[in-house]
Amino acid sequence: MTLLSVENLRKHYSSGDRDVAAVDGVSFSLSAGETLGIAGASGSGKSTLARLILRLAEPEAGTIHFEGQNWLALQGAKLRGNRARMQMVFQDIHGAFHPTATVGSVLDDPLRIHRIATKKDRPGEIARLLDRVGLAAADAHRPVHQLSGGQRQRVAIARAISTRPSLIVLDEAVSALDVQVRNRILKLLVELQREQGISYLFISHDLAVLRAVSHRLAIMDTGRIVEYGRTTDMIDSPQSAAGHALVSAVPRLTLAGRPKNTV
């Protein structure tokens, strides 16, 4: 079943003498329970594409269908009501939270607004969400700004899964996490997908991460998808120049350290 389909999406920015076709005719579709990975050079339009799908920016052209609805036609209360179905986790956590918010309040808001849990049940639900992302129930009382970068990222993930969405758009969501926490979060995302059929649009520069979690992979370059296919096939033998360059530049773990006297 197709959950999301995007046709010929376009968005361009111009400011002064800088004119950028950030998203330049992108089409793809995503099934329920599927993960589409998106990789591409910095500035190739990945986050813009995410913002268009999330309705945080309006495209100049193209269509988006989500859960059988004309997603771009939804407005006002109708759009707000449906927002719980599509969640996001961004890397740029700066500004993603109110400066004085506590972890608990960040999770309480969506549970209340979208009527996921009653007042009585919310503390228990918050504790459960924190546990799922590897934080302690007691962390609910801490102000978000006092957390480390990786801890804040986990709060953002807990918030995204709190409304039981059908799609989560993740933009470099695990890039700043250490391997243990990252692996745990990736396993959690895969588990949620298996249990609840959630789909992910998973933007990352980390091809090993994309290979671990995404069924299909799209490579973007200057606003376009230049390569698309099964993730393992593409990483094993990329066909586009952009894909090839990204794969060959992956840092390899060299236990012996850097060669002496390089450069």
Binding site: R18, A176, A212
Partner: protein
């Protein structure tokens, strides 16, 4: 990598009642590339902030930092700092060109014009496409990776002798990341800069660093040359970091999809 640039002894940092760094002692060697790794919340950012004198208000810091030079290095001039959250370190109201040129003008005594030329060259070095136009853009008009690169350019603009980069390349595509790593590497080998590089990517650390320091729960659990730490890790925390690393040959976490 011979003389100690700085020795830190018994550094402890508390935020309120919470100890974020416990009794850390180490020598930072002049001209070395030191990678700092460790799990989330282990105190990496706290450590580098303490070293640079950048702890947030309310943090209590004990211990001694002894610099080999007569005068402690000054932030912005002698120490360049790239924050984990690049966007937070850029002023949203200033054009990119101004932010990068400012440090060069102030600390290198350049004229505005010379500082702008310097800034543009730096943006090109961090692989910003169409640098002249980007000079006139504001931070919100850039992608995450572009902002991260601008923050790196701003940090090296005053030609600091010490560069502290906190997850500075964590959101860059692999091609640009490799270019930045090469640039930082050249700054160390040609300009005798000292590099402190916080990263969660142990593969990146293995390619870039001379030494690796491993943090866990606020403690420095292991430090040594890369080859020693990675091939003969003494601490189980280091072993966990190595075991958790996955690469392009690790088994995927998902089952194959039924082709639709």
């Amino acid at each position: 990598m011979t003389a100690a640039l700085c020795n830190l002894s018994n550094m402890t940092v508390r935020y309120g009642g919470r100890t974020a760094l416990s009794d850390v002692s180490l020598n930072l060697m002049a001209g070395e590339r030191l990678a700092i790794v460790g799990e989330s919340g282990s105190g990496k950012s706290t450590f580098v902030r303490a070293l640079a004198g950048l702890l947030p208000r309310g943090a209590i810091c004990d211990g001694q930092v002894h610099w080999a030079s007569d005068q402690a290095p000054r932030l912005g001039r002698d120490i360049g700092f790239v924050f984990q959250d690049a966007s937070a370190s850029l002023n949203p109201l200033l054009r990119i060109g101004e932010q990068v040129a400012e440090g060069a003008k102030r600390h290198l005594g350049l004229t505005w014009q010379a500082a702008y030329d310097h800034a543009q060259a730096l943006l090109e070095q961090v692989r910003i496409a169409n640098a002249p136009a980007v000079m006139r853009a504001y931070p919100h008009q850039l992608s995450g990776g572009q902002r991260q690169r601008v923050a790196i350019a701003a940090a090296i603009a005053s030609r600091p002798s010490i560069l502290i980069a906190d997850e500075a390349t964590s959101a860059l595509d692999t091609v640009v990341q490799a270019d930045i790593v090469k640039l930082l590497d050249e700054l160390v080998s040609k300009n005798a800069m000292t590099l402190l590089f916080v990263t969660h990517d142990i593969a990146l650390a293995s390619n870039l660093a001379d030494r690796i320091a491993v943090f866990k729960h606020g403690h420095l659990v292991e430090i040594g040359p890369v080859a020693d730490v990675l091939s003969k890790p003494r601490s189980s925390d280091t072993q966990d970091l190595i075991a958790g690393h996955f690469d392009l040959t690790s088994p995927p976490l998902i089952a194959e999809v039924a082709t639709s």
